[in-house]
Amino acid sequence: MFKNNKLYLKILVVNIVCCLILTLCLTVTTAAEDTEVSLLLFIHYSQAAQDTIQKQAEKWAANKGVRVKIDFVEDTSLASMITSESQIGKGHDIIPLRESDAYLFEKILTDVSSVVEEIQKTNGQAYDIAKIGDNVNGIWRGIPWYHDTAPMLYRKDYIEEVGYTVEDMNNMTIDEFLVLAKKLKESGHPVGMQCAQIPDGNATLGSLMYSFGSYLFGPDNTIIIDSKETRQALEYFKNLYQYMPEDLLGWDNSGNNQFMLSKEGGVTGNTPSIYATAQDDNIAFKDQLYHAPNPFGPKGSWDAVTVWSFGIPVYAKNKDLAADLIKYLLTWDNFYEHAKSARGFDMPVYNGLDDLSIWTDNPNLSGIVTGKDNFMSVGAPGINALPSAASQRANISYTVPIMFGKYLTGTSIDEAIKWTVNELKRFVEEENQ
């Protein structure tokens, strides 16, 4: 057969052997992987915070005589990475969970109740909001790590120009906020509240809805979004929208950061990252950036909180080492080193780690500390509802921002709500399948 093709035959054999070797390299677990703990984390806005986590993890690994590897990726890519890893049954030993991801990924998360109990012995009980997001049907699937919050952020000099004080901002109602928005637009430094299909949009609009008493779900995944309160929230935001930049719907997560750091913006809703960036870059107006609670609606003022947690997937190779590393990262000293390096972005989520002096001692940050009673988790289903896979899907699909966006761009209020109801029904059906 190959009488005249010896050269070609040699090339073919070499190619096949190379392919086999490559395949083996990609699939065979080496001994080294058995003593390596791998973490999947999101890219933190603060490089210093990332470096701190890296350093702490490496110190732990050196003490244990093992290796640690941390992969930092965009937070919007996390869900897809975790889904992909779960499909192939291989991946990181520790994965990050946000908000109610524990419900979405319940079937691939290890029961970490014993780890959480141990941590709570030293750190105190986890905040209720963390428990709601990570404790699924009585079993801890996530280990709470920290929370971040999205209060109002404003330029003190700009609001003073139009006759307002820090005290006014700390006690502002939504109607007063509308008046402020009009004045700031006239003065050339408008309000810019995120409402696009991005995590910030979920946070801003979620807390607004709560302040009106508008919710996605009631108990047992009953859909209650079609309500008078939802209509009020939609109408209010449409009124506010006329005083805000026209390109809001095209902003990405950094849009409001750029808006405020460019000197243009007067007020936005955001985590303290804008303030921290201004400090780090020594921007001229850095000390004019203040935080305040979100405006008070008929049902109060609500803090849109994201709780970040650690999860140990069922396919993790080194579950015990992973649990040990997590406990190490959550010791008092390590958590505070991390919180300080994050410049106030990452806040405690255990009652025993509740020293809030990083925030309360700084007048620019003190407005963030509002108390846990008005925490609402970003993507929360409703005040009387536990999270579910359906509510978390609604969250990561940006259902609420899209509902608002539809109404802002000409869809009738009834159609916008009807679309939302249909989407929520679909999420519930998918959960029940």
């Binding site: 093709n5 392919c19 889904t83 719907l249 990405d252 750029q258 899907r393 966006g405 761009t409 399948q433």
Partner: protein
């Protein structure tokens, strides 16, 4: 009955074996598996059970999916038209260039050569809602008008079509150029001697003879355009309000980000019958064109 006609044929198939294995392993198996998944309710952490065509029915009932389907068709038709038009113009220009021809060809090819992700990031910066350089230029021309490049569904769709076209025009240009330079010059000389004008030569000589090339280019470009992902993901992530969400991104969002793997598979497979029919007829047209010559 012999399996192979002769020894040469047997050798040929043997050498093709690695490629067949790769194609089956990396394309065929995932494709068949996706079809299977689309008939189940598989999700993250659960293998699922057979549910028939329920996923497809649910998709058809979904107004969002209908919008995504519409977006994909609009995006493909407009982008292909732009690429075909400008591709032809650039090909004709390159055909007639002598001096500086190589430089022009290189510049025309640049959008195709630069990695798509980098191009998309650069275009995103140029479209930036706060600091668009295009709006800056417009303002410098003496007007306060602002184009909301990424903030409204229609303008966002136009913006991503422009990017896709910018990247795809070189492919059309180079492919059409290869067809143009294969046309016998004596045909044009004969037409000149008959007094034919430029546009007449184009309509009666050029177009008919490059039809097979156009058909192939159109086919490949249609498949690539309708499955566009990178540009949309980076520039708009499907927004605003699903205004730029195409089938591939929607499949990713539903199947991977949301963890409803079966639904994502159904979305991916949905357009396959249509593409199969389009490909079949286009290839038939190509074969007819070749056999007539």
């Amino acid at each position: 009955m012999k399996l192979f006609r002769n020894e040469e044929e047997r050798t040929a198939y043997f050498y093709l074996l690695p490629a067949i294995i790769v194609v089956f392993g990396f394309i065929g198996y995932p494709f068949v598996y996706s079809i299977y998944l689309s008939f189940t309710n598989a999700g993250i952490g659960k293998s699922g059970s057979f549910i028939g065509i329920l996923n497809y029915l649910n998709l058809l009932k979904s107004s969002t999916f209908r919008q995504v389907l519409f977006n994909s068709l609009v995006f493909t038709i407009i982008a292909i038209s732009i690429k075909m038009f400008f591709g032809m113009i650039f090909a004709l220009i390159m055909q007639h260039l002598r001096r500086a021809g190589k430089l022009v060809k290189t510049l025309i090819m640049l959008p195709w050569v630069v990695p798509t992700s980098l191009s998309a990031i650069a275009w995103w910066w140029m479209y930036n809602p706060n600091y668009s350089i295009f709006n800056w230029i417009i303002n410098k021309l003496g007007t306060d008008y602002r184009v909301h490049w990424l903030s409204l569904p229609k303008t966002a769709m136009l913006s991503v079509i422009i990017v896709n076209s910018w990247i795809g025009i070189p492919f059309f240009a180079i492919s059409i150029l290869s067809g143009l330079i294969s046309i016998d010059i004596e045909l044009y000389e004969a037409a000149d001697s008959e007094g034919a004008k430029g546009y007449q030569k184009f309509i009666y000589i050029t177009l008919p003879l490059i039809k097979p090339v156009l058909a192939v280019v159109l086919l490949f470009s249609t498949l690539m355009t309708i499955s566009e992902f990178n540009i949309i993901y980076i520039i708009t992530n499907g927004g605003p309000l699903f205004g730029t969400t195409l089938l591939s991104l929607y499949a990713y969002q539903q199947g991977i980000s949301n963890g409803v793997i079966s639904r994502g598979a159904a979305i991916s497979i949905f357009i396959f019958p249509l593409l199969f029919i389009v490909s079949y007829f286009q290839l038939r047209m190509v074969r007819k064109g070749i056999s007539k010559r």
